[in-house]
């Protein structure tokens, strides 16, 4: 269990939305570097060392592809490095490409952390109250999927036993899966009618339904929420005031170092490192107590 998984879902959601909002829509080199660093650190803490190395094989080529191809789409800028097919490849376009690549990868990393932390039960807890019918459909569908996966394995094994092996070719594989899916469809639809009859028999739709969720809003959640909101507000105020405006064209801009700019960098940097700090603190506490026993 990770420390950030124990945080209240509403706080988690607010946190991830805040980070993603700024990282997607405020293109400033310092903030982007903070997004990438914070995201990579948090991802590594959540996923472990081996998974992080595996991911590098995906992110590094993606980074190069986005960064290197940008000059093909953009010939703005005043510092041509060389000419390609008669079009100038400018320093500005390359730097802008790197900035885009950093943002894309930063956002992907944070989305990965989001998927790790915000599991479907937390999602249902957050959105279940205002939309009871929809959340019932959602939770039923989520429940059906593992059941169906199990059943489709059974169907597939039965078909294999009947001699319906699938070869390596794509057509063969598609055919095999199609057979399984067809069998699943009639089975699941018949089953569904029984479910709905049973729901009706137990009085669905009569009264308001209650549900159980093991989430409690603790004081620490309140502190975390307040911290997130304050840090986000500082960053957004800076963005609205134009502190984080940064241009690559026609000439690469200067990274501001006024006190307002530094405050925004610090606030957003703190926001990005918040969950990693929490994980580290948890790990330290854990090891401290383990060594005492």
């Amino acid at each position: 269990m990770k420390a950030f998984s124990n945080v209240h879902p509403a706080v988690c959601m607010t946190y991830f939305l805040s980070v993603l909002l700024v990282s997607m829509f405020v293109p400033h080199p310092v903030l982007q570097a903070e997004v990438l660093f914070g995201g990579a650190l948090f991802c590594a803490l959540l996923g472990g060392r081996r998974a992080s190395f595996r991911d590098l094989g995906f992110y590094v080529p993606l980074f190069l592809m986005v960064a290197v191809t940008n000059p093909l789409f953009s010939h703005n800028g005043v510092t041509p490095l060389f000419f390609l097919n008669g079009n100038p490849v400018t320093l500005e376009a390359i730097l802008c490409g790197i900035s885009i690549a950093v943002t894309v990868i930063g956002v992907l990393l944070w989305c990965k952390c989001y998927s790790f932390i915000m599991t479907s039960d937390k999602f249902l807890y957050l959105f279940g109250k205002p939309i009871p019918k929809l959340s019932l459909v959602l939770s039923m569908a989520l429940r059906f999927i593992p059941v169906y996966i199990r059943q489709s394995r059974r169907v597939s094994r039965a078909q294999k036993a009947m001699g319906l092996y699938s070869g390596k070719s794509i057509v063969d594989r598609v055919k095999n899966r199609m057979r399984v899916l067809t069998a699943m469809i009639s089975w699941s639809l018949e089953n569904a009618m029984e479910t709905s009859a049973s729901m009706k028999a137990r009085g669905y739709g009569g009264k308001k339904r209650t549900s159980f969720f093991p989430f409690r809003f603790r004081t620490s959640d309140g502190v975390l929420l307040a911290g997130t909101i304050v840090l986000l507000a500082v960053t957004l105020a800076g963005a609205a005031a134009g502190v984080t405006d940064f241009n690559f064209y026609p000439r690469v801009g200067v990274i501001g170092n006024s006190s307002a700019a530094v405050a925004v960098y610090a606030a957003f940097g703190a926001l990005c490192l918040l969950p990693s700090a929490l994980e580290v603190k948890e790990a330290v506490t854990w090891n401290y107590f383990v060594s005492r026993i």
Binding site: M24, A141, I149, M199
Partner: protein, 233 residues
């Protein structure tokens, strides 16, 4: 999101508020706070917000357990299909399932199946800025199929044409946003490059839609029709 409990009037009020307050607010925020990426910000937010009225309308409707369970089953089946076919990239039955649901149970059920499949399958495949776009495009594909249901049931040619168009639609829509996000404005050459590099996937989407619809529309339709008469949906 912000509403807790609330009666039918409350939900109607919120549906209206989305159009008259939230969308203008998003546009204003985009222009004021995120000038460099305002178009991407506005597009993403408006896409997400435009799903909400459909969901609220579904909430307001009658609670018929059979319909609810059916939508859940069709959603689960389309997610299962996406999982079963993971070894073949881009080969997804989600659109087909939304279209079939819409053909037999109406436009609203089609929208719900498409949109919910997007949310749920992304619990398995990873959420991201693409989720709202998937929700809206799969949902709308279901919705339109529901409006055309009689014609789609009669003609397999029309069904195939619909399948091909819907396969292309998703890349076309999503790449507009990618360009707006990367460049801050619409950059035609990047858009063309993205469409071109996505072409193999777009082709697989289109082919898989045709394959799934042609293979499954009849048998699932038969089962659904039988359920309709047997259980009186």
């Amino acid at each position: 999101m912000l509403l807790i409990g609330g009666g039918k009037n409350m939900k109607k009020l919120i549906s209206r508020a989305i159009f008259w307050i939230l969308i203008p607010a998003v546009v204003l925020c985009g222009a004021l706070i995120f000038p460099a990426k305002q178009y991407a910000f506005i597009t993403l937010c408006v896409t997400a917000l435009s799903c909400v009225p459909f969901f609220l309308r579904f909430e307001r409707g009658e609670a018929d357990t059979k319909r609810l369970v059916l939508i859940a089953v069709m959603t689960a089946l389309s997610v299962l299909g996406r999982i079963l076919f993971t070894p073949i990239p881009g080969f997804k039955p989600v659109t087909a399932m939304a279209v079939i649901t819409a053909m037999y149970f109406g436009a609203e059920a089609g929208f719900m199946t498409g949109a919910l499949s997007a949310v749920i399958s992304n619990f398995y495949f990873g959420q991201g800025p693409w989720t709202p776009f998937q929700m809206l495009s799969w949902g709308l594909l279901g919705l339109f199929a529901g409006l055309l249901s009689e014609k789609l049931k009669r003609s397999r040619v029309l069904l195939s044409v619909y399948a091909v168009i819907s396969g292309a639609l998703y890349s076309v829509v999503m790449d507009v946003w990618t360009v707006l996000w990367a460049d801050g404005a619409f950059n035609a050459s990047r858009y063309a490059a993205l469409l071109l590099s996505a072409l193999p996937f777009t082709a697989i989407y289109a082919v898989s839609n045709v394959v799934f619809l042609l293979i499954f529309a009849k048998p699932i339709g038969k089962t659904l029709d039988r359920l309709k008469t047997k259980y009186g949906i």
